[in-house]
């Protein structure tokens, strides 16, 4: 129930921000009706759960994003250097990493973070094992004990 309320609030905020109408009662009422309708539909479809609307993670995820953005920029520059180097120094590798996260949602966040950082792509997620494809040997090393693995595990730790 609290999850449904928070979903409704999030969607109402989204509606307000996207429409930009703050003082037109008729439109606001219609917006409210659509929000309620969508919340009811989502509840009926049974997707308002810890995976569909993981509100319990939101604060910690917000703290994680800036760090992830920094990682994306750093690894983007690495990939750009590799692409522009005349000798094209790539050494593609496929390897597996064990995610330290407890829940499937946590491992999906970890897998998506790996994919988001250029130079590494998660090909498969099977239980605790992530199969990762990396562009260079440098990008392929040290994922098991990586800061990302630890940080994503910390996001879901205290929930």
């Amino acid at each position: 129930m609290t999850r449904a309320v928070s979903l409704g609030l999030a969607m109402a905020a989204l509606w307000l921000l996207l429409s930009g109408y703050f003082d037109k009662p008729l439109l606001l009422a219609m917006g409210a009706v659509s929000v309620v309708l969508v919340v009811l539909l989502s509840r009926h479809m049974d997707v308002v759960d810890h995976e569909g609307h993981p509100v319990h993670l939101s604060l910690k995820v917000l703290a994680y994003w800036p760090w992830l953005l920094k990682e994306i920029v750093v690894s983007s520059i690495d990939v750009a250097k590799v692409i522009l180097a005349p000798s094209l120094p790539i050494a593609p590798a496929v390897f597996t990493v064990r995610g330290r996260q407890r829940t499937e949602l946590g491992r999906v966040i970890f897998a998506n973070s790996i994919t988001l950082t250029p130079g590494t792509v998660t090909i498969a997620l099977d239980g605790e094992e992530l199969t990762v494809y990396a562009l260079t040997a440098q990008a392929a090393s040290g994922w098991e004990d990586s800061e990302m693995n630890r940080r994503v595990a910390a996001i879901e730790a205290a929930t």
Partner: protein, 115 residues
Amino acid sequence: MVAVLLDGLSWLCLVAGVLAALIGGIGLLRLPDVFSRMHAAGLIDTLAAGLIIVGLVLQSPSWTVAVKLILIIVFILFTSPTATHALARAALHGRVLPWLGDRSSPSEGAPSSKA
């Protein structure tokens, strides 16, 4: 003064974003197979898209426009890894194996340019 500074910063982001997209495009042409090309594409849909949108945020006439642009970044960051993952799965499903240099026999997907 502040306006000039914001304008300069905005242009810096836009130019950097365009450069990132250009490098990603060069990467798409230079890299050998589907999987390695995904990395070049990743450069475009994270760094290039992000920088261009930040540049546009600095140009936006009102805060509601800025919020919408930021939402676009957020949605790209959510959807692009999913799309990349689907692409990788589809390639594997189609029996295209990653090209791993000279260590393995050249897979059928090695010089593939269909992606």
